[in-house]
Symmetry: C3
């Protein structure tokens, strides 16, 4: 089923029908992956444009394309920095349109994805635009919740850590607004609480949410979504040092609990290593789900699924 749009720049453009379709195709892609891939996108080229490095996201897109028999050309952040010589994002996109069949772009400037999509004649996927959106991360989080919990409607999700700057928890919040009876517990230090743009969205959608500084308050949820406190967001190094490991999830805390543990990775200590073997530790499965989710999107936007 073709999606009703050519470009994916934001979770805000998605309807419940869209996410249902994407998650259904992603589930089908699990089968493709298990069979060792397919030739669905044979002859198609993905241009993987990372103005800002993000190896995880880039490799996820690139393997997704290759698992479907497609090919990849890559331009990485460090090349760009010395390279694009003042060319506008719009011109770069129009050039890359002459090479590839689909584009995934990471760029440090908020709004760059919309500018890029506005001139692209080929499908364009936002792979993160600075503090803006990162819709494929939110979709793979959603898909992981469905797989791990068997449903999305009615879920109680606890988000932990840097809720102020954490792009992933914002995108996921907006996306969960499409579902029924979602409940949030928001765990963060006072300096890093969820911004008003998100809490006002909760209110508008009549989504129940509780704010707390205490991790224990959030562990009886269906899902706990841990995040890293990102050093690069802090001007004050001392503040970063104080906050970075305020919340550390351990196996001890999870004992007797069935809460699914997610994390967008990389982690730098927020989840103790003794959590890894637990059956509810889903963060590496989440990475794999990113591949099938991106396989689904690539295929759908290229009108092959």
């Amino acid at each position: 089923m073709p999606l009703p749009f050519q470009h994916l720049t934001s979770t805000k453009q998605l309807t419940r029908g869209d996410t249902d379709a994407i998650l259904r195709v992603a589930a089908e892609m699990e089968g493709v992956l298990k069979k060792g891939g397919s030739d669905l996108l044979h002859g198609k080229i993905l241009a993987s444009l990372f103005y800002e490095p993000s190896t995880r996201t880039r490799l996820s897109f690139e393997t997704a394309m290759q698992r479907l028999g497609g090919q990849v050309v890559t331009a990485d952040g460090l090349q760009f920095s010395s390279l694009y010589k003042g060319e506008s994002v719009e011109d770069t996109i129009k050039v890359v349109n002459q090479y590839a069949d689909i584009i995934a772009m990471r760029h440090p400037e908020q709004g760059s994805a919309d500018r890029a999509a506005s001139v692209s004649a080929i499908p364009f996927i936002n792979a993160g635009d600075g503090p803006g959106q990162h819709p494929t991360q939110a979709l793979l989080d959603l898909y992981t919740i469905e797989k791990e919990r068997g449903k999305i409607d009615g879920i109680h999700i606890t988000m932990v850590g840097d809720l102020k700057f954490g792009r992933t928890v914002h995108s996921l919040s907006f996306l969960l607004g499409l579902y029924k009876d979602i409940r949030f517990t928001l765990v963060s230090p006072a300096e890093l609480t969820m911004p008003e743009k998100v809490t006002s969205f909760y209110k508008e959608k009549k989504i129940a949410y509780t704010e707390t500084e205490n991790l224990e308050d959030g562990l009886d949820a269906d899902v706990v979504y841990m995040t890293r406190v990102q050093k690069e967001r802090f001007e004050d190094a001392a503040q970063y040092e104080r906050l970075k490991l305020k919340y550390i999830l351990t196996a001890q805390q999870l004992k007797g609990r069935s809460v699914t543990v997610l994390h967008p990775l990389p982690r730098v200590g927020e989840i103790a290593l003794d959590v890894d073997p637990l059956p509810t530790a889903a963060y590496f499965r989440q990475v794999r789900n990113g591949v099938v989710l991106r396989m689904a999107l690539l295929a759908m936007l290229l009108k092959k699924a």
Copy 2:
């Protein structure tokens, strides 16, 4: 038809018969591209060696190879800079000969391409050697002129901007020397006029040319070839700032004119955005022509076309 040479390092090595053959195969490659590619070069590997970054040229070669079913290994400028540890270009080429079936190399030193080709047992293509040659750019410019104007012989072409340091206008000038009744209008500030090595070539070939500082004088040509003033060529920042946007082509200036607008890209303001929608604005089609032209060269040098 196989080309009568194994390596392409300079436009100066080409005869009219060679360019005729290359442009004919490029035209055939348009059909291959429209069909979604072919498997002509299946099993062949292109080594894409960019000692100096040039994402546009690199991606063009790499997609050309992939559209013909071939594969690519890439080494990029920034890797090389920390990497080649004093190894000579000749040794690097002999090493890469053991990996790949064909090489495209960009290198900052003039003459490096000839040194590389002299030791290569596999086909070698110069993708730009500093202030030296960039023959595939000149060939794609030539192909674009033919496609846009229906002919090359008898063409009147205006070259605009930095004619002193602009490698592309030099290479294209030499290549147009193979054609009949070519006429040049050369538009540049006094500091950036066409160097003697090119104007003496015009004289030797009895090619008519006019020099002017006024862009308007050149707009009644068949083709206007705009170029960027390259910051990296200037030691004097103030001079760069003064010259960089001396010539800005606008839709207003093109009104009622049928002159085809070319540019090797990136542009940084020399062509106003309002030119983009004009049917005579050919610079993004020029990018696409670069792909088919390089498909043709890769196939011909590998003796598959």
Copy 3:
């Protein structure tokens, strides 16, 4: 024949049976390469993770994978340096396990390869871990000795240059410990002699070895293995300058001799250019042998050979 291990991190894990099997499959891969490759690894993805740049080794692995019909995703040193944001090698490997079917990793820290392999659910190959091991280099050296000399047992090999810091001569020494009647001549300045960890291994294995500062003393061997004095190993620039070209092998010295010349490359002057045309100059064939050796390992570890 499947190898009795899933990961290759060190030559020390190999038995004579293992090296016999690997060299036999490598010889078969020569035939595959001559036919223009195969589709043996179609649908498989190699993750090429180079925390530290090494274009030669990386391109060798990547072309080996592609010659067998597999695909590659690459993450290079410079990307990592700005990128991995404090993530442990173990976590990176667990993430990459979700993308690829096999991993080749170069990392500057000794022991990193063992840590990586210990958590990898997919085959892992050490492509060099700092001053530690580089087993595929040693295996390709071994394969080259067998091809050039027709045998390995009974060989007399002279190692020349920086024997103190030269990882390749250490790994190869340990590997040759699996063979019978090996004899070493060790040529180095007093400051760069073979370390005790290697000479004590010779003694334990009852391998005959002679140490000398004189290159001429080693030229009546079956193989002379030249190495580069690596600038990055010296704190004292003057010492480096004095030692770097202490040994220069010339055609004149090789006159009337049949000793096979090897070098792991890059060379920066240790072998004069007039040696290159000699039939006994095997260092570029050695590069090609690296491709077939890695084809063999990729296929065997993926249980396809």
